[in-house]
Assembly symmetry: C3
């Protein structure tokens, strides 16, 4: 049983249906929760709290993106149930935070975030239609595509300027990779595989899904997921662990990146999506999800290298690519049980529905014979 | 009423059906017109005149591409009505001009243009089939894909050599962007937001759809569109305006690019396509089209930055990407009325048909009740 | 009649169906043969021999990839007939060899190859489902995508390090391309269009499909194809010829690349796939296949230039892109006769079936009238 049961949420849901303003707040909060596939206003609220605790400015940018993208969907008259489930908010909040994270603050940045949020809603509907051919979700592809294009463009625009996090470079394969886990990019102060550093890496990996490079925020995020689904919380933790450990011990990734959770967040999303949301949670799908998380960690390095000439971040591109590749096989991998998009819910609910259907089918077959 | 009514064209159309040679010329001219979605031989003829006035050499290159791509479609025995509508010419003419614009003239360039034109027809049919899954048009994607690959390849080929317009570079975010509107890249002579400079920017924006960096050609192009559709001419003008003004005042793009219409031509195509061709012209689709033009302007910078390491041009890639993203949502945005590919015609015609159908449906519903 | 008739293979096929171990070996060998579309264990065996003759180490890497990817498909319970046809082996062997070719050997490389092979099977099923919308094959796209991502990632990983074949660079269009055919990159020793050099280029072009830069291996590969299909062997030879000659005489590509068959292998695959496998072999499809091979040669340069900033190889990406573009038009080019995926077999068989069906249809029409 998740901490926030349907029963506990019932009065709020009732109010959200009656009152337009409460309904809008509910939509906004669900949009925030949907970033990690949690269609739950409490989860969304805790996500927002976690973000504001780390950075009120990024929180503000995210909130603008969240509201603008949702309102855009309303103005364009998207089907109401889709909007109410927060499906036109999660790309907006990520676009808002993403632009604010990599660009310098100025008055125009707010306009740029608003443009990005509007576009994210158009791209969401476009990609949802595109992927519906295979009954596939758009995941955070609308955020990634929109934010990439606007960040790339910033290199040629005077009104928005990249922060120092953007430094175009030609990679030199002869320069060795610094694998010591460490909080500072070019210094070895505080480096090493200490318990503190590993905990930092683990929780920041969860926080970085929202660009939150902060241990406490990571803890709040995990609790937020737990409020809606224990299975998703488990996979979020396992995903961060797989990302961190494989980058550190297996691949030998940059230890600065490992410390700051940069090899974790894509793995977190891979694990949640594949392990219980778009496949029914079974031991087979669990292994499959962790392999996807492992692959997502390598793809993080791959896409980052590919974008090194313009110094641009991979965002959640590695998650989108890895997860889509792991979801597209669907029922062709008979060892797994894919979930139709219309059946997506909390993993516990999906599992329950699935086994009930299976039992009903078995019972019917028994009656028939 | 457009300047060239169906009645005025009737004798020509009759002749084109009777006489093979005239039919071929008609096909060629329509292929030229289709670059801006105008299935009209007079529009195509004026486009050609505009090009030849600016550069006979580019005109020749375009004509070779136009004829070769059309003949290739005939030899491969594509359905006749598609060829006759000019759908296998517009990518060929753009490929021809595009290669001639960015590569140095030599005997082999003609062979390279012929190869490009042949390939553009294959890619057109391939992408038309690909996008038919969503009833989406291929737009100028065949031209962009073919020309990109052949231009990229030129960096490694001795037979074709890039002009100085191609200079691979690593972008440095610390170098400020020069926003003063100016005709010369590194000088401030004639710079500033004078009326002349703004008119140059505005008309060159239309001209650059065909790589024609020329005010007079831009004027002729606008007239050519007006011959077939006032709505398309309006959106061509609005698109160039949005591209120019947003690049100049909003984003702070390079003023040399603004002067030469390089932020305009993708916006022009976005505006025409979205505002009246693939959505029924309404005030909602008008706003939607201008937002698409604004986005296309940012994507122009985004793709250009992405290709900076090989110094390659974005071509109409920004238009293709932006317009496809704005078209894919289709009827899911209930505020807009998408046009099925088989119903595409001049915007005025589309609008008439649509409202007639709506009235007929309403009348029928009235009779039934 | 091919050298290895169905009759000659009958005892082996019988044994493969009876005995699980023999069946597995048969699957493995067919997987190897499928790299060049030859579903024949003898062809696969000869391919393996050709590889081991040139490099036992690359052969070992390929074998690991081949076995791991096949076993992964079995564990994920893919439909048995697909696995038995070797469709989950050919990307695995290429991924194994590709990683071993461009990365330095160390203990971890074996782990990396295993990861790559597992992923290649997931990506194969994903892309097969994706392309099934258009009844299109995935070709070697799973290998290309998986290997690209893992090679790009290696630039940021300490556990795997690129060989000197990977050198990121900014291309300078002002540096002339060295077109003299030669065995050494920066020296002119042994350069020139001698018969020996041209034979080297021709046979290495076939060998490079498996990264085998070796004349003898190329000869063995051609014989291996001939064992299953004379038409495919013919197109393999023609493809290598078109790649070599067009790069040398037409485009003016780097003569070191020409000598080592680097402009040949994509053309080889284009020619085999388009000329007899996915279109019925006719004189029209033969010309079409050679144009595709020519285009694939240019795309080889195009993609290589595009990846120059991270110094990464194009792999068989040029083949995948060119062939898909030439296959997607399907029955819309009435001059060609596309083959449904379920009808794919040896070109001779496809041709026989097709004309039998045509005759039967004609006979029926005759009876009916």
């Amino acid at each position: 049983m998740a901490l926030s049961s349907d029963r506990m949420l019932a009065p709020w849901n009732h109010l959200a249906q009656e009152n337009v303003a409460v309904g809008f707040v509910d939509t906004i909060l669900r949009g925030c929760g949907q970033v990690m596939f949690q269609n739950n206003p409490v989860t969304g609220l805790l996500f927002l709290i976690g973000i504001f605790i780390n950075s009120p400015l990024l929180g503000l940018a995210g909130l603008i993106g969240l509201i603008v993208s949702t309102v855009t969907a309303m103005l364009l008259r998207v089907e109401r149930t889709l909007v109410r489930a927060g499906l036109f908010g999660y790309n907006g909040i990520l676009t808002g935070i993403g632009l604010a994270f990599f660009l310098q603050w100025n008055a125009f940045l707010v306009v740029y975030i608003i443009i990005g949020a509007v576009i994210s809603t158009v791209v969401m509907m476009a990609l949802a239609n595109f992927f519906s051919t295979w009954d596939m979700p758009a995941l955070t592809a609308p955020f990634v595509l929109t934010t990439w294009l606007l960040l790339f463009a910033a290199l040629l625009f005077a009104s928005v300027r990249p922060t120092l996090a953007i430094h175009p470079t030609l990679l030199n394969p002869l320069v060795p990779v610094q694998t010591a886990i460490r909080p500072l990019p070019f210094s070895l102060i505080g480096s090493g595989a200490t318990l503190v550093n590993l905990l930092q890496a683990f929780f920041r990996g969860v926080g970085e899904v929202f660009f939150q490079d902060n241990l406490v925020t990571g803890i709040i995020f995990l609790i937020a997921i737990l409020v809606n689904s224990r299975i998703s919380a488990l996979f979020a933790a396992l995903g961060s662990l797989v990302g961190m450990l494989s980058a550190w011990l297996l691949f030998g990734g940059d230890g600065f990146w490992v410390y700051h959770g940069l090899y974790g967040f894509n793995a977190v999303l891979c694990a949640i999506a594949v392990g219980g949301i778009f496949y029914v949670f079974t031991w087979q799908s669990a292994i499959y999800a962790l392999v996807c998380a492992l692959f997502g960690t390598a793809v993080m390095a791959g896409i980052s290298a590919f974008l090194s000439h313009i110094g641009m971040p991979a965002l959640t591109g590695p998650f989108v690519l890895s997860a889509l590749l792991f979801l597209l096989p669907k029922e062709n991998f008979h060892a797994l049980r894919p979930v139709a998009l219309t059946d997506v819910a909390a993993p516990e609910q999906i599992r329950r529905t699935f086994f009930e259907r299976e039992q009903a089918a078995a019972a019917e077959a028994g009656t028939a014979s």
